[in-house]
């Protein structure tokens, strides 16, 4: 995308019928670190790649609980994401106060989209620079929506946004047909694998990946680091190779469970070492 004379104002159309400012806002989403969502009939899982700016800083919060039955993962300008999360929480609380009932996800998403649309049609505003993956449960089942800065929203079985999300999407495209009937554990496993895909070579640990779940009988909550690390270890997805032979993997399982890391080839053992050697000060 190149600069042109139609991109100064959000209220200026280009001759080709495009609003460049809105498109630039969507670019901001693509620059943010990846966020992934997938759903089954009864559960929705959100996974985020959390990159800290430096080893000294903490990770940015990218997943927000909106209500017991709704949560959101963001990619892009996280400040905009926080503000929109606050709006969503407010809407949920107000609805609950009036009707003693949880706000249907589909309605919240439409309200959010209409709010985003306003910013694309006022000369004194700018579009929100954040994409939101809204995960929620209501009477009509489990839902995953994507809200973008343009004011559009779409419902998905699985989706990924942010940088290197294409790798995650490719993985999800292969597997999504099975998601509806997936169990909670399989869904989380697929989310972790998709997150690993978008890490592209880097080690998947609980310090770079955050997972949140919502399901029937399970209020939205973010899994704590320990649990995530255990899941990663159990699912053996530290390194890229899904095609790794079964035997070394089985051996690695025993290694990880029993010994401290000794720099072995197997990825599983490397996990234990990470906490001692490569982890940032904030982890310890």
């Amino acid at each position: 995308m190149f600069r042109n004379q139609y991109d100064t104002d959000v209220t200026t159309w280009s001759p080709a019928g495009r609003l460049f400012q809105v498109e630039y806002a969507m670019e901001a989403v693509k620059q943010g670190s990846a966020a992934i969502g997938l759903r089954s009939k009864t559960h929705v899982v959100l996974a985020c790649v959390n990159k800290a700016n430096s080893e000294l800083s903490s990770h940015q919060k990218k997943i927000f609980k909106v209500d017991d039955h709704i949560g959101v993962a963001i990619a892009g300008l996280t400040a905009d994401g926080r503000v929109l999360s606050r709006y969503m929480r407010s809407e949920c609380i107000n609805y609950n106060y009036t009707y003693e009932s949880p706000l249907p996800v589909g309605r919240l998403v439409v309200q959010l989209a209409d709010k985003a649309q306003v910013c694309t049609q006022r000369s004194w505003k700018r579009p929100y620079g954040v994409g939101l993956l809204v995960a929620g449960l209501d009477e009509s089942g489990a839902h995953l929506y994507y809200n973008c800065p343009s004011g559009n929203y779409f419902e998905y079985q699985a989706f990924a946004i942010g940088s290197r999300s294409q790798a995650a999407k490719t993985y999800l495209e292969r597997k999504f047909n099975n998601f509806t009937a997936s169990s909670r554990e399989d869904l989380i496993k697929d989310a972790l694998i998709a997150a690993r895909e978008s890490l592209q070579g880097e080690k998947l640990t609980s310090s770079v990946c955050t997972i949140a779940v919502v399901g029937v009988g399970e209020p939205f909550h973010i899994l704590d680091q320990e649990t995530v690390q255990q899941l990663i270890d159990t699912f053996e997805i530290v390194r890229e190779e899904e095609t790794a032979p079964a035997e070394p993997e089985a051996a690695a399982e025993q290694d990880a469970a029993t010994e401290q890391a000794s720099g072995a080839d197997q990825g599983g053992a490397g996990n234990q070492g990470g906490a001692d050697q490569g982890g940032s000060p904030m982890d310890i």
Partner: protein
């Protein structure tokens, strides 16, 4: 100089409806009310429908000021309209409507300008039966059987004894008729033109009005003054 008129607020009701009685039964909710609109002590209007379906899942019965009930109906019509306009497969159930009404009634009460009604809200959604009531001051609760006004004192004791959760439609109607008959005998603002309505998963039905058989041949009624010299 008098430049600003004091803002008006409700002080007393004018045209009022009497008790509403409602019960949960096997398939849903049954509700009964008479069709009278009293103007003080005069039984002035005799075809007032006080039971109305709300959306797909609820029934509303109202006692108290009829004009305020009509206003509530306008609020609810707008609420249901907007709910339908979402067109998204979600709909407001009886619990949501009941809570909405509670908020409205309580907020009006706080402004010292109440809607002078006692409301009964019943319905079924996804197999779940719901029956609740709200008063003009915002007091709200749910139960297996509810009533407004004198119904609380005359009908509910009967229901406490004779209600069970497996009533058939016929048994439910018979029970409600028993309650309405007592109210007819003892409530001076009751008229003998009763409407019964039901709501089930399939929908709401408001039945045409009918009248209750009453019995006045008690021997004590024959010579009412026999024990009281000087009365008429």
């Amino acid at each position: 100089m008098d430049t600003v008129t004091e803002s008006q607020r409700t002080l007393y009701p004018y045209v009022t409806g009497s008790s509403v009685v409602a019960i949960k039964y096997k398939d849903g909710i049954l509700m009964a009310a008479d069709m009278g609109g009293s103007y003080g002590s005069t039984l002035r209007y005799k075809s007032v429908e006080r039971l109305k379906p709300i959306g797909k899942h609820s029934l509303l019965g109202a006692s108290g000021e009829i004009s305020d009930f009509q206003e509530i109906m306008r609020y609810l019509d707008e609420l249901i309209l907007i709910d339908n306009m979402w067109d998204d497969g979600n709909s407001l159930g009886p619990k949501e409507v009941h809570n909405y009404l509670t908020r409205v009634m309580y907020n009006r009460r706080n402004k010292f300008n109440p809607l002078w009604n006692s409301l009964v809200l019943g319905g079924v959604k996804k197999g779940q039966k719901y029956l609740g009531t709200v008063s003009m001051i915002g007091v709200n609760y749910e139960d297996n059987h509810v009533a407004t006004g004198l119904g609380n004192h005359l009908a509910r004791p009967i229901l406490r004894d004779e209600w069970n959760e497996n009533l058939t439609f016929e048994e439910g109607v018979k029970l409600l008729e028993k309650c309405m008959r007592v109210l007819l005998y003892r409530d001076r603002s009751a008229v003998n033109k009763i409407q019964i309505s039901k709501i089930t998963e399939e929908g709401a039905t408001v039945y045409p009005p009918f009248s209750l058989k009453t019995y006045w041949e008690f021997s004590a009624f024959k010579n009412p003054t026999v024990g009281a010299e000087g009365s008429w």
